[in-house]
């Protein structure tokens, strides 16, 4: 995480009104970010050379040598001269691809090698690591015909690779033109360099955690519903638990109580009660049934036998005989029959006979009575085998919800087979009821156990409710702060971009008031507050292509100048292409200002920019690129400002047509300008090499008001040490300095001394470099 952003975040979170837990979340996330940042931030690098062979417009190896120090370098070449191949070669070497190829058909990436060259492609670049003398060299080669992403030898990974995405030091023409195609691309380009990508990541991480927690809570809720749905509503225990689980505000303690696996805890529901009664069912044993029927059959047989005689008639007949016996007069030997009147029918023999007959008849009647009683007893026994519960069995089974459990008790008192079947059915029913009770109990145990598991998670979910609230609070806070930080961190870039735009726009009627980065959903966009002729307008609508290009450059330069970027160089490819000619001087000024602290390499296809730089007397190196047959590319170094001033001095000094007094004034001025320019070069070179004071080189150079101060700054890095110049300069050089200093004020006399001046100045300039 960006250290500056981290510090700002921590300061603000401590001063915030956030709860402790939310604060802790952000502090922890910042600490996490700190660990990740240890090997970040490699030392700054300057670009020393780009060598390209067999790539695009360049055939045999060509090397672009650059001064690794702050300053503007213009690489000038007509379209097709191969100049862009240097820029693109460097981009390909460092980033592995070209922005120009992005979102393009495959045909763009084919034929990326030089058509006029049979050898392999080879791109290398050397960099100067600020503060060390160690150069950094990167080289990559490709076989002829290889894809651009399949090199033969891949360059070594470098510590700067990670920074390439955030601080891309390249701005190609394609990017210049497409930077504003979408407002999000500018946001994407700027967000990482402000270190706000980390804040966005932090926000995303908090969001993910919050979502995970919310998801867990939702899952717990779903699980409760699932549990409730799986519960058997015929079980009163489960029914009660289900109701508790479905309650909108679940009371976890109540649920725990309901689901407690306690012994002897029974289901008090009607169905369970019926089941329990069924388990107590007295199903007759088959043997008992068989015995009862055997007894019944025996009793029936005896009864049937005895019932053959009419018991009632026998009793009545016995009664009649006894009545006749009582009636007979024992005093007489024989009596007449009282019934039929037959004379002397009732004699001793009859008496004997009648007594026996009456006894026999009584016996018969008693036997019948016994048989009847016995039969009734057998029937009662049989009926007793199927008690009331048995008779209720069907209804109970229905109440218990057992299916196909009807027991047919019809004929069980008559038919042994039916009785046996019924007894077996009852026994089965009892067993089923018992099984069902067991099943319900174990199902209950299982559900209770499942509920216990769920409860554990539900308690954890309930426990993170506070954490979830803290996450939400932290997220909301961070969103606001991220917006503030974004605005604050971006405002210097925006201000610089707006200042650049004012330089570049010249007479354009489009005024740029503000640029703001706004977060939008997962991404963000850049908003431009633009007025056209004083009226608020849509930035992209009112700007011409050239103006958009100028705006791209305006924004890119302050980004490249950020201290956080390890790249002290920036490469811009053809910013003048679509620019109005009169704006070129503005561009030259903007580029020159940006080059005060950065090594700016600008590729351009015509002479307008170098011309503006020369005419405006802006320090810049100019390299000319031209391509001959077979893509043989040559680079010529245009005379430097130092060289040009000295050449001009020589020409004017030798111009005998010009009066001596004028020459005596102009020549020293030109020579002095040359020496001062050389001093500035040396100061910038040293700053780049040591990494010290790069950002205020320009301020210090401005502080050197006299030639002696410029020399002191160049030689001792101290503008005050003008008195020590003698330590480094010989007598002739010191008197030259004196001449040059006073020259403009008329200190030189004599044609000869004026003519000699440029050569002396050249010597001094060379001496300074050594």
């Amino acid at each position: 995480m960006d250290q500056v952003v981290r510090k700002l975040l921590l300061e603000r979170v401590r001063a915030s009104a956030l709860g402790d837990e939310a604060v802790a979340l952000i502090v922890a996330a910042c600490a996490e970010g700190e660990r990740g940042a240890i090997d970040a931030a490699p030392e700054p690098i300057w670009l020393r050379s780009i060598a390209v062979e067999g790539f695009r417009g360049i055939g045999p190896s060509a090397t672009l040598a650059l001064e690794p120090r702050p300053g503007l370098t213009l690489v000038v070449g007509r379209n097709g001269s191969g100049k862009s191949s240097f820029a693109e070669g460097l981009e390909l070497l460092t980033t592995g691809t070209l922005k120009r190829w992005a979102k393009r058909p495959k045909a763009w990436t084919q034929a990326w090698q030089c058509l006029h060259y049979d050898g392999p492609t080879r791109i290398s670049a050397t960099f100067l690591r600020s503060g060390t003398d160690e150069p950094l060299a990167l080289t990559q080669t490709w076989d002829r015909g290889a894809a651009h992403d399949a090199p033969t030898s891949r360059r070594a990974a470098s510590a700067w690779d990670a920074a390439l995405t955030s601080f891309r030091p390249f701005l190609s023409y394609a990017e210049l033109a497409t930077m504003f195609d979408t407002l999000t691309s500018l946001y994407d380009a700027l967000s990482p360099v402000l270190g706000l990508g980390d804040v966005d990541d932090l926000l995303a991480a908090l969001g993910r955690e919050r979502l995970a927690m919310a998801k867990r809570a939702a899952e717990s809720k779903d699980a409760a519903r699932g549990l409730a749905d799986a519960l058997d509503d015929t079980d009163a225990r489960q029914l009660a638990l289900a109701a508790a689980l479905r309650a909108p505000k679940r009371n976890l303690d109540a649920i725990a109580e309901l689901a407690k696996p306690r012994a002897g805890r029974v289901d008090a529901g009607a169905s369970a009660t019926a089941l329990r009664r069924l388990t107590a069912l007295a199903a007759p044993e088959p043997q008992a049934v068989a015995d009862a029927f055997a007894d019944l059959r025996a009793a029936t047989a005896i009864h049937a036998e005895t019932a053959a005689t009419d018991a009632a008639r026998a009793s009545q007949l016995a009664d009649l005989l006894r009545a006749a016996l009582r009636l007979r007069d024992h005093g007489r030997p024989a009596d007449d029959c009282p019934v039929c009147g037959a004379a002397d029918a009732l004699d001793a023999a009859w008496e004997r006979h009648a007594s026996e007959a009456a006894e026999a008849l009584d016996e018969q009647a008693a036997a019948l009575r016994n048989a009847t009683r016995s039969l009734a007893a057998c029937r009662a026994t049989l009926a007793g085998l199927f008690d009331a519960t048995a008779r209720d069995a069907g209804a109970l089974a229905a109440a218990a919800g057992l299916e196909n459990a009807a027991v047919d008790l019809d004929g069980v008192l008559e038919d042994e087979a039916a009785a046996l079947a019924a007894a077996a059915a009852l026994a089965r029913l009892r067993e089923r009821a018992s099984d069902e009770l067991d099943r319900r109990d174990s199902a209950w145990q299982e559900r209770a156990a499942a509920t216990a598991v769920w409860l554990e998670d539900a308690r954890a979910v309930a426990g993170q409710a506070a954490s979830l609230r803290a996450h939400k609070a932290a997220e909301t806070w961070l969103k606001t702060v991220a917006d503030e930080l974004r605005a604050e961190r971006f405002s210097p870039i925006a201000d610089q971009a707006i200042a650049n735009w004012r330089q570049l726009r010249q007479g354009s009627n489009v005024e740029l008031h503000d640029i703001a980065l706004r977060r939008q959903g997962r991404g963000g966009r850049a908003d431009f507050d633009v007025r056209a002729d004083g009226e608020p307008a849509n930035a992209l609508g009112v700007m011409s292509q050239g103006e958009l290009l100028a705006l791209s450059v305006s924004v890119f330069l302050p980004r490249a100048a950020l201290d956080e970027s390890p790249f002290r160089f920036a490469v811009i490819d053809d910013p003048v292409q679509a620019m109005d000619p009169a704006k070129v001087d503005g561009l030259a000024r903007v580029l020159h200002a940006a080059a005060a602290t950065r090594q700016l390499i600008v590729f351009t296809h015509d002479d307008r920019l170098p011309e503006a730089v020369r005419r405006l007397h802006l320090a810049a190196s100019v390299l000319q690129v031209d391509r001959r047959a077979r893509s043989s590319v040559a680079i010529r170094v245009s005379p430097s400002a130092v060289r040009r001033h000295l050449d001009d001095a020589k020409r004017v000094a030798a111009n005998g047509d010009m009066p001596l007094d004028v020459r005596a004034r102009i020549v020293p001025t030109l020579c002095r300008t040359a020496v001062e320019a050389r001093c500035a070069e040396l100061v910038r070179e040293r700053a780049a090499r040591t990494g010290v004071g790069v950002d205020d080189v320009e301020r210090r150079l401005r502080g050197a008001r006299t030639l002696r101060q410029a020399l002191a700054l160049a030689l001792f890095d101290d503008v005050e040490r003008v008195r020590d110049l003698g330590q480094m300069l010989n007598g002739a050089e010191l008197s030259l300095v004196k001449l040059l200093n006073g020259g403009a004020h008329g200190g030189i006399a004599g044609d000869e001394s004026v003519r000699r001046l440029p050569a002396q100045a050249i010597e001094l300039v060379h001496g300074l470099a050594a």
Partner: protein
Amino acid sequence: MTSASAAATRRLNASQLLDAAERLLDEDDAASAGVWQRTAALLIREAIELALTLFWRRRAPSVLQLSTSDRWLCLPAYLGERPAAHAAEYAWTALSDACHYRSYDVGLTQDELRAQLATARAFLVAVARALTPDAGG
């Protein structure tokens, strides 16, 4: 520039030339349609050149025998390193380009010409200030 236009403008001083150029830029005059750009460019360049000539005539007339490029080259030695002078030099170059007729050239826009006009006025002020102390002596 042609001798005819030189004769026509010689009677005006540099500031008046710029005023004329500004009128061309401000007015939507049918008479100057199609030629106002080049005319304004010419007037502004003429004004800058006039100021430069005036400066040398007063300060070192011998410089006037040099080419215009060299007159610019010598300027810092007499005027000092002034951004207004550099800007004027650049404007003079750009306007000189614009005054040459090229079939492919679409010419300068009104906005660009206004920017050059402002540069020219700033240069006139710089020259006038540089010459003021000497005016009396």
